[in-house]
């Protein structure tokens, strides 16, 4: 590295850090998951992953089916119910109340999962 470049980098570094901080700050907020946050659950090999997901009130959870076989995402207490989801199809639900939501695939009921909303 030439001396000139090093100088430029030395000058830019604080600026870059500041910019990084600025861009990072919204995602710092996102970890608190205010309204509008998103979370993902993947359906793979006849299982929900992660099996239990913890999110904040207001989070939208999106399930994506990665299997060659159709699945559903159905709340055991009737809170939400997806249509049948074929390969790569998604289902989303926004959790507006705290609680533990158990769900399963009504086609393959051995597949179960939980969304814990805090």
């Amino acid at each position: 590295m030439t001396k000139k470049n090093a100088t430029i980098l030395g000058f830019l570094t604080p600026l870059m850090i500041a910019m990084l901080l600025l861009t990072v700050s919204p995602s710092v907020k996102a970890s608190d998951q205010p309204a509008g946050a998103n979370a993902e659950v993947k359906i793979d090999n006849f299982s929900f992953g992660p099996e239990t997901i913890k999110v904040s009130v207001g989070t939208t959870v999106t399930w994506t089916n990665r299997d060659d076989i159709p699945h559903t995402v159905v709340s055991t207490d009737g809170v939400f119910k997806s249509k049948v989801r074929d390969t790569d199809e998604q289902f989303s639900f926004t959790f507006t109340k705290a609680g533990t939501y158990s769900y399963f695939c009504s086609v393959h009921p051995k597949m179960t999962g939980k969304v814990v909303v805090q």
Binding site: F46, D67, P70
Partner: protein
Amino acid sequence: MQEKKQDLIDQKLQDLNNDGVDRRGFLKCMAWAGTGLVWTLAGGIPTSRAFAKGHGKDAGKSSDFSFVQISDSHIGFNKPANPDVTATLQTAINKINALPQRPDFIIHTGDLSQLSKPSEFDTLDQALKGASAKQIYFVPGEHDMLSDNGEQYLQRYGKDTKGTGWYSFDHKGVHFVGLVNVANLKAGGMGSLGHEQLEWLEDDLKGRSASTPIVLFAHIPLWTIYPDWGWGTDDSEQALSYVKRFGSVTVLNGHIHQIMQKVEGKVSFHTAMSTAFPQPAPGTAASAGPMKVPADQLQRVLGITDVNYLVSGRSLAVVDSPLGDARSSDSGSGRGLTVADSIIG
């Protein structure tokens, strides 16, 4: 002598049951896609064999009638495990039509469609119209009740049925019962018949002579094969308690896309192959999803395995023999004793 034979059968069957989850055994007894079972009944004794090239001349020679079981057509499935499930269904139908004895009817044990789409049911209907047997009995698989709680299935295939599609009928002295164990499934559970259907079944069987041969058919196995994959029916024990007093009970299922069999007292259990794609033997893969094999391998293994059900004396005996074996012409008479070396080996 007869007792000795029976002991041999029982012993072998015990081995067979223990061998039920052995991978090698499975691969040997799997007949993959485009296949179905031919059932013949001689003196109320059901015997089955897989479709196979070059045999079947003697099938049903001395039988009262025969029927064919096909399963898991999954019309609409188009993934690499089999991009053309309509073609393999057609292969199965061609094989039905080539049988020397025309079967009286066909039983389809569910998963007619992949996604319960009208177009998928249409394609299936169109293909089945070409079958030599015009009477076809259905039970739904979970894939046939995906979008509308099975409304469309019932309209098309279950007009004269009860509840979610169960029914019974008699044919030449044999009592057939079609059961539905894919509706209203509960989280964490397996297949389920439900209280209402169980009550109906008890009532349906009541008053029938214990000598009446009984054939129960349903999509998901009515015996627990592999709970981790949901391969069983939670309340099947109760259903089976109603058939205990009968002298000959045969249970036909699909769902797991491979041959598995078990004999328990007078009850003989059997699962059929799919006409669409194979599924892995229990526990041999990360999940029960479609098993991908190279196309040439699929063709090569088509029909390589033959399944025979022999019934002798007091209990049903299940016999599996590979296609290559010299097939004795009396295998349909209940005398054959080519016990399941092909599976046990």
